[in-house]
Symmetry: C2
């Protein structure tokens, strides 16, 4: 393996001069710089990142730690983060599970964006205390160097359901995500509260898991039920899509017999029949803004406040 020592030797300069040249320091003359770069090219030399990171006590890497690699939300947020980090010259390192914790604790990243319910608060807070900024999505978490950004789940769900109550719907059902998920919990709170505020004192509740398949199973159940709700709010779009598919396969008409809405505005929602009414969050842009904030923090600038990204109601055919 070629090191900077080899480059320096071939160029006939000292190691420090070689280093300056490679890092484009103004301290070195144009002529020696060229000599060094030529030698580096000739040797196919690339600096060893581990050595550089150790010496500089920073890596230029931003960790993005997600719960799993599947899912349209992750994809969009990641693309947004990636776009911004690339513009600013940072490396994006996406990981999951045990790896996330390793990379964090071993300080192979300068900052972390957390999109993973399963990483424990303690580990994150500790990393923050060490001086590394941590941005947590879909979770409330306070502490030194800790930042969080959460969708206004309750308000957005309340607004959607209120419209539908105003439009005359009387009986409602909720199709949940995983019961311990932050988003599901808060969407359900919004759902329950708005019904209560309107004097609707009961609703049906179905347990799902945020997947198409989970929604499909619940859809079959509802299709066979004698007490079909007029309106089913699904905790996310994917389960709504599965639900709609099941209902249609049993000849339940949507929205005539049962109206459906979801949450997330995944792109697929435009390509099903009927098209899906939902609540839209611009995940790509969210990712960009989170990345922008993290970079500002690393530069000791004041980050833009994005603790509560906006969402919007998207009226389509399914309700």
């Amino acid at each position: 393996m070629k090191t900077i020592k080899d480059v320096a030797a071939l160029a006939g300069v000292s190691i420090s001069t070689a280093s300056y040249a490679i890092n484009n320091s103004p301290k070195v003359s144009t002529k020696t710089k060229e000599k060094v770069l030529l030698a580096a090219r000739e040797l196919n030399y690339y600096p060893n990142g581990n050595a550089r990171n150790l010496k500089k006590q920073r890596t230029g890497n931003i960790g993005v730690f997600i719960y799993e690699f599947a899912g349209p939300i992750f994809s969009d947020v990641l693309d947004g983060i990636h776009k911004k980090l690339q513009e600013e010259g940072y490396n994006i390192i996406v990981s999951s599970g045990k790896s996330s914790l390793n990379l964090l604790q071993e300080r192979q990243v300068d900052a972390a964006i957390i999109f993973d319910d399963s990483l424990e608060n303690d580990s994150l807070v500790h990393f923050g205390k060490l001086g590394y900024p941590v941005y947590v999505l879909d979770r409330d978490l306070k502490g030194e160097n800790m930042y969080s950004s959460v969708i206004n789940n309750e308000g957005l769900v309340k607004a959607l359901i209120q419209r539908k109550i105003d439009a005359g719907y009387k009986t409602f059902a909720y199709l949940s995500g995983p019961v311990d998920s932050y988003n599901n919990t808060h969407r359900y709170i919004g759902f329950k509260n708005v019904l209560q505020e309107n004097g609707i004192d009961k609703h049906q509740y179905f347990e799902g898991d945020f997947t198409i398949h989970g929604g499909y199973e619940v859809g079959l159940k509802i299709a066979n039920s004698n007490e079909k709700p007029e309106f089913i709010f699904c905790a996310n779009d994917e389960s709504a899509i599965g639900l709609i598919h099941a209902l249609k396969s049993k000849n339940v008409r949507i929205p005539k017999d049962v109206a459906v809405a979801g949450f997330d505005n995944i792109s697929l929602g435009k390509y099903i029949n009927p098209t899906l009414t939902t609540i839209g969050v611009d995940h790509y842009n969210w990712g960009k803004e989170v990345a922008e904030a993290i970079i500002a923090i690393l530069k000791h600038e004041k980050p833009k406040d994005i603790s509560h990204p906006d969402g919007e109601f998207i009226q389509r055919e399914s309700s």
Copy 2:
């Protein structure tokens, strides 16, 4: 920041003893080991990965470099890779674009899995020459420490179309992906060859981009055409789904008026109407096998041959 020096001091042992204890070496007595681990815990000490990696000349990280974060294929492959790497104690580092190249060249990973058309052969071959194993997916590439795994695109497409010719279909169309993509190129070769072998000397050709939206646009065009093909083979499932949606919206019956098939077997294919005939590759398992092979190589064992992962024909309603 706490270092191993602090731990050693607090535990009242030398630095090397502390290191041995932390790394669970049998050289150190149980009693001192406990003492050291206690001190480490008390100080909230975690080893600095950059220092360790520099010293050991290996990182325990495997880089997985993908073209973009969107897409069901990437997700499934990544989940498979992640599963296996986690089992074996390696960290997964997923990256894209410029970051991929940086991480590779700076040797912040011990090996790389490449799922990205845009990374140039030269960079990869060079990394291989340096002694790092590189596994390339969906691309043919030879060289020192280079391994590749490509779907049998041609054979699988030929087999599917042959069935449909045997079933009586006479006029065929091809909906492409990006023209310079490896998969699209080889799927189209298979398509053309099997038609030729059966004496079918022309076919319609539509240019797509592997997205739902791209397929949708082409679908609208075909719906308005007077010369609808009996059978449209789409270079991937996503474009097939967009195509079907457009055709249905124009009251073209599938498969009666036009039959459709795709490639990939993404899970969504079961949840559209009609369900999608396709060619299935088990991407999750593919990811697992690639990860397994890379690990074997790192351990200087002989990797299992997975240069041509299997696929299977999946007959559903759309054709």
